[in-house]
Amino acid sequence: MKKIINDPHAVVDETISGILKAYPYHLRMARESNRALVRADAPVQGKVGLCTGGGSGHIPVFLGYVGPGLVDGVSVGNVFSSPSADDMLAATKEVDGGAGVLYIFGNYSGDLMNFEMAAEMSGLEGIEVQLSIVADDVASAPREERHRRRGVAGLFFAYKLAGAKADTMATLAEVKATTDRVIAQTCSIGVALSPCTIPAAGTPTFTIADDEMELGMGIHGEPGIERTRLMKANDIAATMVEKVVSDLPFTSGDEVAVLVNGLGATPPEELFILYDRVHDLLRDRGLKVYRTFVGEYATSMEMAGASLSLLRLDDDLKDLLDAPASSPFLPQWRRA
């Protein structure tokens, strides 16, 4: 293990501490938990509060999505491990502006159990909570079993559009309906080239030969669809586009937002090489690319690889995608 750290068990707390020092005008710690952070001006009165959370090791997921036009609070657990229901409750209390709170999070059993527990505890505190669960990874289960799919980089679209919807002062039910519609229109797939190491464990999450890649691998190293020889970027693009487009399916004439996401160790150059072909393949299929995002939106520490996510848009969703939002982790979003 070769990492710039002090103590493997202090990685999460020292990361949070550094982020709070770097961005004191954006974020603050919740009063009742040092694993819960909220936007500096939380709560926004009358607005539905949005909370997310999950294991650490995926920046900008989850902390990086806190901000105006995005989510209001997060709770973070240890690396790849859910935060506690208590941490989630601490964030919930501080983002509730009187209109209820929506939890938006990836479909992992540990997170689900804790968010459900936190929702029950929030109910006892008089805060109404609803859940929207992101399950966009087409490689993790067949379409008929969508409820089993993992949540990956598609979280980005859910946060962005839910944040914009909440800013319209819509009700909790309306924000949840829009968020669920975004989730239903989002499909993703990833490819992994090399593993990452959980600092406290000290050993890589999986092993893979230098000349191999795994299609469909999850962001914690969960097994994918198949392990193959490392393909050329154009072939990886073709495989990813086929898997994603045929899943929803996206059809000729659809307008889409595209996200090519790096998993942590893959340089931006390679992401743009991938996007170069993805763009052409989508155009060849008659899809219209409305907006494109290329960069690190959901990582897995130093894992090498990339994911492709597509969101099918309509006029309402396009407006929400373009609404202002701000986070120090999303520099291209000063004003769309």
């Binding site: 935060p83 229901a85 540990g110 804790n114 959980i198 914690h220």
Partner: protein, 211 residues
């Protein structure tokens, strides 16, 4: 021997169990890494450590509140799948004996049954799906049958451990339906479930120290 226990007895029992479970953490880590996400060893370590810290200072006369506090302690220390389910089991067991200062074997049956329901509800799981329930459910059932048939506590505990062990072994041939292990599909057949293994060690330890 006395067959009823005060909260202080339960606290020392849980302390022993936490120590026993922690001594198995490396074995559980390896087992979990095979088909799970490998965090069970860390979970067990953190949960045991937090339980020890809580129990060392706990002076709680109500068994219900003691168990509920243990549940919250475990969830805070280790909100992983296993930690959260274990916490749910403790919270539910605590609710089953809300203001009791002591518990007898019939009370232990109620606590066991409540723990089962707590885990089933939180994990949306049932027996036969390669989880800790495959160990916990038969153990509680065997214990209940033995107590209801008039067995003494040591015999009933022995029955529970025997059933837990058989339940644990039955997970080898099951396919995972929950959590990260489920994504390995058929590859999980032939591997003993890590969560059920941890549950077996917990039941075995509780039974041994209750004896």
């Amino acid at each position: 021997m006395s067959e009823s226990f005060a909260a202080s007895d339960v606290a020392s029992l849980l302390l022993d169990a936490a120590n026993d479970l922690e001594s198995r953490s490396e074995e559980l880590r390896v087992l979990d890494a095979a088909i799970g996400d490998g965090d069970l060893g860390i979970t067990v370590q953190l949960a045991s450590k937090a339980m020890r810290a809580y129990l060392a200072s706990a002076n709680e006369p109500s068994i219900g509140r003691l168990l509920a506090q243990c549940g919250m302690t475990i969830n805070k220390a280790s909100p992983s799948t296993f930690g959260t389910l274990l916490a749910s089991a403790f919270l539910a067991a605590g609710k089953a004996v809300p203001d009791k200062d002591y518990v007898d074997p019939a009370g232990l049956v109620l606590m066991g049954e409540a723990a089962v329901e707590g885990v089933k509800k939180r994990g949306k799981a049932d027996v036969g799906e390669k989880t800790m329930l495959d160990c916990l459910v038969p153990a509680v059932e065997a214990f209940k049958v033995a107590i209801e048939c008039g067995s003494d506590l040591p015999h009933a505990l022995q029955q529970a451990v025997t059933a837990a062990e058989a339940g644990l072994k039955s997970t080898v041939n099951m396919q995972s339906r929950h959590g990260r292990a489920s994504w390995h599909g058929e590859k999980t057949i032939g591997v003993q479930d890590a969560g059920a293994t941890a549950m077996y060690y917990l039941i075995e330890s509780l039974a041994r120290h209750l004896h």
